[in-house]
Every structure is written in C-alpha cells, then in structure tokens.
C-alpha cells in the first residue's frame, strides 16, 4: 500500500506560518473536497486557539515595549532634574560637593531601581542641608519624577511577565496545533487508505516560505450602505 508523503510543520514553525499556510491550506482543501468534517472542526478549533493567543502575544509585546519606553523617558526626566540640581548648587561649591561627593557622573550613572535609590539619597541629603530656596522647586519636581519612574518600572516588570506568559501560552497552542495537524493526517489516511495521492493533496506544502508577522490591519472606510441602500454621508463630524 503506497503511503502519502507530506511535510508536517516542524517544531519552531512560527505561529503565523502555521495559521496562514498550514491551517489555511488544509482547511481549504478539506472544505473544497467536502470530506472529513470532524477533522475540519478539530483543525479550526486548534487554529482558533492559536490565533487567539498569537494576538495576545502581539498585544503584550506592544505593551511591554511601550512600558519600557515610558520607563526610559521617566529616567531621562530624572537625569535632567539631577543636572538642574547640580547646576543650581554650583553657586555653593561646598554644598554641591557634599550633595554630590562623587561628582555629577556618579549620580547620573544609575538606572532603574538604582536611579530611584540615588534620587532618594539626593532628596535626603538636600533635605538635611540648607539649600537655596531656588532649589526647592527642582527637588519637588525630582520627587514627583521619582514616583513616576517607580510606577513605570513596576508596570514594565509586570508587562514583561505578561509577555513571558503569553509567549509560553503561544508555544503550548502551537504544539497543540501541530499535534492536531498530525492527527488529521492519520485520520485522512484512515479514510482514504488506498489513495495516498489524494491524502497528500490535502497537505500540499504551501508555496510561501516566509510570513510577515501579523499586526493590526489598516482600517477599512466606514460602511456606506445600510439595508442594501446607499446611506447619506455625514456632512459634519463631531465626537460623542
């Protein structure tokens, strides 16, 4: 009995390729041939679950990137405030040297939680020292910026945890999809034991080799028809 030879998706095949190539091809072929409804349902279900978690992973990646950018911008704001404080204290060199014992560079170097600690140190030292009145507002700004950085670092850490969770979930669903795909191959071979070419035809390797990562599509224009009849286009646009 001749056996069908098909290329099954390998471990590490991107989810986009599993969905856009493997799933689409198999489902299309099975529907056209109107065979194996159980296999269609199973592959649809596995593809749906994979698609759902793929979109979640894309979203968490966007959010983690955004959280990182927000945290970095808060760090830059603090750097500016430290520079401003250093400049303001330069009128009293002994005071400046007591607040910045290792120089400006040492206070600008820390990042993340270490930067928060350095700002707390600066606030503490300046609180105890007699600083010019002109410095007070800079210290208030620096304190507020430090609070913001603290919350953004926390958000960034949480966003990365969410990203790791969705990446792990995506891998689990990709594995489940590959298993369902192999199961469908077995099921179809059982349905058509003497027609290897027919079975192979369902699983024909899709022509595309690479798949662009999916992202939000461009927005289609507002629907211009209602009940099959053309609808008037709103002349004025306000927001609700």
């Amino acid at each position: 009995m001749p056996s069908a030879r098909v290329r099954l998706p390998a471990i590490g095949t991107p989810s986009e390729k599993l969905l856009d190539d493997y799933a689409k091809h198999l489902l299309g072929a099975l529907r056209r041939a109107n065979v194996a409804p159980a296999a269609v349902i199973e592959i649809e279900r596995a593809a749906g679950a994979l698609s759902s978690v793929l979109h979640a992973r894309e979203l968490t990646l966007r959010l983690a990137t955004r959280a990182e950018a927000l945290a970095e911008s808060a760090e830059v704001v603090i750097e500016d405030e430290i520079r401003a404080l250093y400049a303001a204290l330069s009128v009293k060199r002994p005071l400046r040297d007591s607040v910045f014992p290792e120089g400006l560079g040492a206070s600008l170097a820390p990042r993340g939680d270490a930067q928060i600690a350095e700002v707390k140190r600066l606030l503490d030292v300046t609180h105890r020292a007699k600083v010019p009145r002109s410095v007070a507002s800079a210290l208030v700004r620096m304190g507020a910026a430090n609070t913001l950085l603290s919350s953004r670092l926390s958000a960034s850490a949480s966003a990365h945890e969410a990203l790791v969770a969705t990446v792990a979930a995506e891998r689990r669903q990709a594995r489940a999809f590959r298993q369902r795909y192999r199961w469908a191959f077995g099921a179809l071979t059982g349905l058509f034991p003497s027609d290897a070419a027919k079975v192979a035809g369902f699983f024909k390797e899709p022509p595309r080799d690479t798949t662009e990562p999916s992202s939000l599509p461009s927005v289609p224009p507002p629907t211009g028809r209602r009940g099959g009849k053309p609808r008037k286009v709103a002349a004025k646009r306000n927001s609700a």
Binding site: E58, L63, L70, S154, S158, R226, S239, A240
Partner: protein, 194 residues
Amino acid sequence: MSDWWESLVQIRRADHKKGTGVFISSTEILTAAHVVTQGNAALALDDLTLDIRFRSTLAVPRAVAILATWAPGATGSDVALVRVEAHSDLGLSLAFGVPPPSGSAMLEGVGFEAESDALRTPSGNVECRVTTDGERLLFSDDFAPEGGMSGGPLIAGLATGVHVAGILTRASSSGFVGLSVVASVLDELRSRFA
C-alpha cells in the same frame, strides 16, 4: 474564526456625533452611555448606526440598556449595552479585575477617532481606583482617549487571549480615562433589556 479587532464597532449618531463599541457576545455591544444617550434617555434605535468596520457591515440595533444612575456628566455609570441581531462569531471575552482595585496594569485603548475615522490604539499604565460607591474608575498618566474613542475597549493580553478589561469613557485633567468591566454592572444592564 474571527480576529479580535473584527468585534470593534464604530457608532454613529443621527446628530453626527461618533463613538466606539465592542461586541462582548454575539448579540451585545459594550459602549459608553454618553455615546448612545441624549440627556438621561437612550437614543431612538433609528438614530444609531452600528458599523462593524472590519467586516464592512452594519449591525442592527434591537435595544439599548443604561443604568438607572446614569445622568450626563456622571462618571461611574457611563456604560451601556446595545443588543443587536446575532453575529455568531463575534464577541471578545471579558477580563474582570484587570487591573485589580488599587493596582495597575498596562492596557491598550482602542477606538475610532472621530475626525479621521482612523483606528487609534494608545496604551499605557492604567490604575484602578475604587470610589466609596464601589465604582471602579481607571486613570492613566500615559494617554488620553481622543474624540470618537468613547466606549471603545481597553484591552489586556492574557495567556488565554485578548480580553476587554474596561472601556474608555472620557479624558480629564485628573487622568481619568474610563471604567473597569464589572460583572454586577453587566448583570444589571442585561436585566434592563428584559
């Protein structure tokens, strides 16, 4: 099998104002109350156009439910459900308690900006503050919804997929951006359809 963004709806009113909504089941669109009301009352169904933009089709409204406590300018009750004819494969699932009370989470707001009809997806760290009435208000220093995005979802990415965690209602200088989805509020809205 539909992609999550296919559940987004642009809501256009007869007075040319616009808002956004999202299918949370095959027959329910979640949005802000001020998008589908005039004063204290729901707009007539004929005054609403529910455009499922990514399907290039319209949903037919059957009923609008708002909370008894809703009044123009209210914050915590600015939520509504619109019942429509069934679109079997649409509907984003909900995530309750994201962010948790007094906690924060990175969320993405999604809505159609009124002027250009373009999809906007601002995102940032969103904090949940609970009022003495138990309302869960959402605040963010990182973004503010633009006109037309009212009623759009605030979405969260979880290991189970993309979920609606809240809705955008309005922007304010305090950083107020919207409301968390709360099961009891949805139950009350659903009971008002009956």
